[in-house]
C-alpha cells in the first residue's frame, strides 16, 4: 500500500506567493453584505475574441477580466498597476482515466504504478508556469466533503518499479518492457487519448509527459492525440485504454455515485472507467440515498478511501479561479470558494460590487461595464443551458438558499428556513420531504408578490413538460403540496439528503408562465410585459432587471427597484 503523503505544498505556496493574490488559501476572509446592489446599471458588452477582451479590460471598458487560465494572461494582469487579482480554489479536476474493463489496466498494480509515474509538480511547472494546483483526491479540496487523509501515490519511479515487481511484472532486460505474468509475454501497448495539439496543446503535451514517464519503468504507454468528438465517441463505446479530460465538479460529492457506481457503466452513463466494486457500490448508494449530512459525510469518506485504492482515475491538477478587477474603477467583489469572484454563481459580488472615486473610495450608484465572453443566446430560463446565459439570468433571479462564500454552507435566502422529513410514498417505502418557508415581502421585478404558489407552479410546470435541463432535479419529485401562501412541501419518491437541492430551482413567475404553452419557443425577453410599459416578460426576483439585449452587442441590466434585499 502506498504511504500517506502530504500534498506537494511547495507548489501551492509557490503559486500563492507568485500571485500575491487576495482570496488565496489562507488570505483574510472577505467582508460582504447581504444587501445590495450598489450600482444602478451593468452594461455587458459581448466580446468574444480573447485578445479583444484583454484589450477592453486594459482600456477600462470592462471592470473585470475573468476566468484567467493562460499563464501569460495572468502575468499580464498582475503587471498592471491598477489590477487587483483574486484567486480561489475551484471545483475543476483534470484527470487521467483508465479503462478497467480490459487487461493490463484491469490490474490494480498497473494503475497504481502509472499513478506513481505522474510528476504533477513538473507538469504544473512546465505547462502552466505554476498556475495550477496539484490534485490527488477525488473530491476537490475546497469541498467540505474533501477527505485529506486518503492514501496518495507520490511521484517516484522507484516506487512504481517496486509495485510492478511485487505484482510479478518483471522488466525484460532486452526489450525494456514489463512482462505480463499471466501470459508470459510483453505487455501490450497502452494508449493515452488526448485532444490534438491544435485544440488543447497542454492536454496533448501532458499525455506525452505521462507516457514518457511510464516508459521509463517499462510500461509501454504512448500518447495518441485525436479529434475531440472522435475521442468522446471512443470513450462512449469504451474503446480506449486511457484518456485525459476535465470535470467541473461541485460542492456536493453526489457525483461519486454517477462516476463510479456499477449501474452507471451503461451507454451515456458516466462510469467511463468501468469500475465494478460491490463495496464501493454499497457506499456510493449510502451516499446517494443518505438521509442526513452525517450519513452522507461518512459514506463520502468511505468512497474516497476505496477510490484511492482502486485508482480508476489519477487526479492530476485543479484549476483555481483567477480573476482580475480594475481597482481604480470598482471595489467590493467577493472571492467565493469554489466559484471565484467573477462567477455567475457568486451572488455576493453582484450585490457588493460598487464603483470607486479617484481616491479609491467606494461610491453608490452609477454604471459599471462587465464584458461577456459569449452571447447569452436564449434567455428563456427553461431552455438556457450554458454558462453564458447564466451570466445574465443569475443576476435576474434569486434562489431559495444561498451559499456562504467562505464556508460554502447553505444560508437561508428566499426561504427563511426549511424542514427535511420523511413520508411513505407507498406501503413499506420511504421518501424525503422538504418543506420550504418562503420569506414574506419578496416581489417579482414587476411588483407581483413571490409566493409558495410560484414554487409549486414551477416544479409542476418543469415536471409536466419534462424540461431536460431540470429533469435530474424533478424526476424524483412525487408531488408538491401548497401548505399556505408562503409554505410549500415537496415530496420525493425516495430518501436522499441531496433532494433539498432539487427544489432550489430558477423559479418561473406563475402570472406570466401559466399561459405559456410552448415552453421551448417562448422568448420572454422579447415579449412586452402585459401590464408594465418598457418591461419584458422576463421577470425575476433578483437584484437586476434586463433593460436591453442587443444580440451580438451588449446586455444592459438595471437595478430592480422591487428587489427584496435593497439596502433601506
Amino acid at each position: 500500500m502506498p504511504k500517506k503523503v502530504r500534498l506537494p505544498i511547495a507548489v501551492v505556496l509557490a503559486l500563492v506567493l507568485a500571485l500575491g493574490i487576495a482570496g488565496a488559501p489562507g488570505a483574510a476572509k472577505m467582508a460582504f453584505e447581504t444587501t445590495g446592489p450598489h450600482v444602478d446599471e451593468i452594461i455587458m458588452p459581448i466580446i468574444k475574441e480573447q485578445q479583444a477582451r484583454r484589450i477592453a479590460y486594459e482600456r477600462g471598458e470592462s471592470v473585470v477580466w475573468s476566468g484567467l487560465t493562460q499563464p501569460e494572461d495572468i502575468d499580464r494582469a498582475k503587471a498592471m498597476p491598477n489590477s487587483d487579482m483574486t484567486m480561489t480554489l475551484g471545483f475543476h479536476m483534470f484527470y487521467l482515466c483508465f479503462n478497467m474493463r480490459k487487461e493490463p489496466l484491469a490490474s490494480q498494480p498497473i494503475r497504481q504504478a502509472i499513478a506513481h509515474c505522474v510528476d504533477r509538480d513538473n507538469i504544473i511547472r512546465t505547462l502552466f508556469k505554476g498556475y495550477m494546483l496539484p490534485m490527488t483526491s477525488f473530491v476537490p479540496q475546497v469541498s467540505p466533503f474533501y477527505k485529506a487523509d486518503v492514501p496518495v501515490y507520490p511521484f517516484s519511479y522507484a516506487k512504481a518499479a517496486e509495485v510492478l515487481d511485487k505484482a510479478g511484472y518483471k522488466l525484460d532486460p532486452v526489450t525494456k518492457v514489463r512482462i505480463d505474468p499471466k501470459t508470459g509475454k510483453p505487455l501490450a501497448q497502452m494508449k493515452i487519448f488526448t485532444p490534438t495539439y491544435e485544440v488543447a496543446a497542454t492536454s496533448a503535451e501532458l499525455g506525452k509527459m505521462i507516457a514518457d514517464s511510464c516508459q521509463k519503468v517499462g510500461l509501454p504507454v504512448v500518447p495518441e492525440p485525436m479529434d475531440f468528438p472522435v475521442m468522446l465517441d471512443k470513450i462512449d463505446i469504451r474503446d480506449f485504454d486511457m484518456y485525459v479530460l476535465a470535470w467541473s465538479l461541485s460542492r456536493n460529492p453526489d457525483f461519486l455515485y454517477d462516476f463510479f457506481h456499477s449501474s452507471q457503466d451503461v451507454e451515456a452513463g458516466y462510469n467511463n472507467p468501468g469500475m465494478r466494486n460491490p463495496e464501493y457500490d454499497k457506499q456510493s448508494e449510502l451516499l446517494r440515498y443518505a438521509s442526513n449530512l452525517k450519513e452522507a459525510k461518512a459514506a463520502s469518506d468511505a468512497c474516497q478511501m476505496i477510490l484511492a485504492r482502486e485508482m480508476p482515475y489519477v487526479p492530476l491538477y485543479s484549476r483555481p479561479y483567477i480573476d482580475a478587477f480594475r481597482k481604480d474603477l470598482v471595489t467590493g467583489y467577493v472571492p467565493m470558494k469554489g466559484f471565484g469572484a467573477a462567477s455567475y454563481n457568486n451572488l455576493w459580488t453582484t450585490l457588493n460590487i460598487r464603483r470607486v472615486d479617484r481616491s479609491g473610495r467606494p461610491i453608490e450608484g452609477g454604471t459599471i461595464r462587465w464584458a461577456l465572453s459569449e452571447e447569452p443566446k436564449n434567455l428563456n430560463p427553461c431552455v438556457a443551458s450554458s454558462a453564458y446565459e447564466q451570466e445574465v439570468l443569475s443576476r435576474l433571479n434569486d434562489s431559495l438558499m444561498a451559499m456562504h462564500p467562505d464556508t460554502l454552507d447553505d444560508m437561508p435566502w428566499m426561504a427563511r428556513k426549511w424542514d427535511v422529513g420523511v413520508w411513505e410514498p407507498e406501503a413499506g417505502k420511504k421518501g424525503t420531504t422538504v418543506t420550504w418557508y418562503i420569506e414574506k415581502g419578496i416581489k417579482w421585478s414587476d411588483g407581483m408578490p413571490f409566493t409558495a404558489e410560484d414554487v409549486e407552479f414551477t416544479i409542476n410546470y418543469l415536471k409536466a413538460n419534462k424540461v431536460p435541463r431540470y429533469l435530474p432535479a424533478t424526476q424524483d419529485i412525487a408531488k408538491v403540496e401548497l401548505i399556505d401562501k408562503y409554505t410549500v412541501k415537496v415530496y420525493f419518491k425516495n430518501v436522499s439528503y441531496w433532494h433539498i437541492y432539487s427544489a432550489d430551482l430558477s423559479f418561473l413567475p406563475k402570472h406570466i408562465w401559466k399561459d405559456v404553452k410552448d415552453w421551448k419557443g417562448f422568448e420572454p425577453w422579447k415579449e412586452p410585459h402585459p401590464k408594465i410599459k418598457g418591461y419584458s416578460k422576463l421577470v425575476g426576483t433578483g437584484p437586476f432587471i434586463l433593460k436591453e439585449y442587443v444580440p451580438g452587442e451588449y446586455v444592459r441590466l438595471v437595478k430592480n427597484p422591487n428587489y427584496w434585499r435593497l439596502k433601506k
Binding site: 458588452p45 479583444a52 450554458s386 429533469l471 424526476q475 421551448k520 452587442e553
Partner: protein
C-alpha cells in the same frame, strides 16, 4: 442557342447543384463523429435527460425520416430549431444577416475598386513605382493569413494607439440620434473593413494588372493610340472594356469566398454575423444551425455562379453560342 435556353439550362444545373449540396449538408453532419448530446459533459445531466433531449431534437428518428423532414422544411425555408438555443434558426440568421451583408458589401466594393484601380494604373505604367508597389504589396498581403493582419491591427489600433473600436457593430449603448448612430456604426466598420481590404486588394490588383497588360499589347490598342485617342480613353474605354468579361466573372465568383471569409473577420472583431454563427454551430455540433448557415452559403455560391454565367453570356455572346454545342 438562344439566351433564354442558355439561362434555363444554367438554372437547371444550379438547382441540381443546390440539391446535391443540401443532401451532402445533411449527410456530412450525420457521419461526422460525435453527437450533440455527448457534448454536454455534465455529471448532473443524467442518461435519462440525454435521452429526452435526443427525443426532443428528433435525433432518435430513423435517418431517412430525418432527411425527408429536413428537405421538406427547407422547401418552406424552415430550418428548424437550433439545438443550443432552441430558437428558430432562420430567426437567428435573420438577426445576423444584415451585419454580414454590411461588412461584406463595404469590403467587397472598397477592395475591388481599390485593387482594380491600382492594377490598371500599374499596367499603364509598367516598371513604375506604382507597378512595383502593387506587385510587392499585393503578393505579400495576399500571402499573409487574414487573422494575422487582423490581430495585428487589433493590437495596433486597440491597444498601442487606442483610437478605434475593437468589437461589435455599435457602441454599448449607442449614442442618441440617428446621425450619431450612423456615424457610430461606420466607425465600427473601420477596423474589419480596412483589414479585409489590406488582405484582399492584392489579388484584384494583380489580376487587373495582368489582364490589362495583355490587353494593352493588342493591335486594336495600337490602332487606337495611332488614331490619337487620349491615353485615359485608351485605358478605360478600350483596354478595360475588353477585359471586363473575366473581371465580371471574378466579381461574382469572389462573392461566396467573401461570405465564408466572414467567419474569421467576425470572430476576431466579435461581429454578430452569419460567419461566426456557422463557426459556433459547427463547434457545438448544432446540426440545424450549421445546416441553416451552410444552406445560405450554398445559395450564395449557386446564385453567384448563375449570375456569373448569365453576366458572362451577356457581355460575351460567344459564351452562350459555345455553350449550345457545335451544331
Amino acid at each position: 442557342m438562344g439566351f433564354r435556353s442558355y439561362v434555363i439550362k444554367r438554372l437547371v444545373y444550379a438547382l441540381i447543384v443546390l440539391y446535391v449540396i443540401l443532401t451532402l449538408n445533411f449527410v456530412l453532419f450525420r457521419v461526422m463523429p460525435g453527437d450533440p448530446t455527448k457534448m454536454i459533459i455534465d455529471p448532473n445531466f443524467t442518461p435519462e435527460a440525454k435521452a429526452e433531449l435526443r427525443r426532443q431534437y428528433g435525433l432518435d428518428d430513423p435517418p431517412l425520416k430525418q432527411y425527408f423532414t429536413y428537405m421538406g422544411n427547407l422547401l418552406k425555408f424552415d430550418m428548424g430549431l437550433s439545438f443550443s438555443t432552441r430558437r428558430p434558426v432562420w430567426s437567428e440568421l435573420k438577426e445576423r444577416l444584415p451585419n454580414t451583408i454590411k461588412l461584406f458589401l463595404c469590403t467587397f466594393i472598397l477592395t475591388s475598386l481599390t485593387g482594380m484601380r491600382l492594377g490598371v494604373k500599374a499596367a499603364a505604367n509598367p516598371g513604375s513605382f506604382t507597378d512595383r508597389v502593387v506587385i510587392t504589396a499585393g503578393l505579400f498581403t495576399n500571402a499573409v493569413p487574414t487573422f494575422f493582419i487582423q490581430l495585428l491591427m487589433l493590437l495596433l489600433f486597440g491597444y498601442y494607439w487606442p483610437i478605434l473600436p475593437i468589437h461589435g457593430t455599435m457602441s454599448a449603448p449607442p449614442p442618441a440620434g440617428a446621425w450619431n448612430v450612423f456615424l457610430d456604426r461606420l466607425w465600427h466598420l473601420v477596423l474589419p473593413v480596412t483589414s479585409n481590404m489590406i488582405v484582399g486588394f492584392g489579388s484584384w490588383a494583380l489580376y487587373a494588372r495582368n489582364t490589362m497588360t495583355e490587353a494593352l499589347g493588342q493591335d486594336y490598342i495600337v490602332t487606337a493610340r495611332a488614331k490619337g485617342i487620349s491615353e485615359k480613353d485608351v485605358l478605360y474605354h478600350h483596354a478595360l472594356r475588353s477585359v471586363l468579361p473575366p473581371i465580371v466573372t471574378l466579381l461574382f465568383m469572389s462573392l461566396p469566398g467573401m461570405v465564408s471569409g466572414a467567419v474569421i473577420t467576425e470572430s476576431i472583431f466579435s461581429w454578430h454575423g452569419v460567419g461566426r454563427y456557422l463557426l459556433d454551430a459547427t463547434l457545438q455540433m448544432d446540426y440545424p444551425a450549421a445546416q441553416g448557415a451552410f444552406y445560405l452559403i450554398a445559395l450564395a455560391v449557386v446564385i453567384s455562379n448563375l449570375l456569373a454565367d448569365i453576366a458572362y453570356g451577356l457581355v460575351d455572346p460567344r459564351i452562350r453560342v459555345g455553350a449550345g454545342g457545335a451544331k
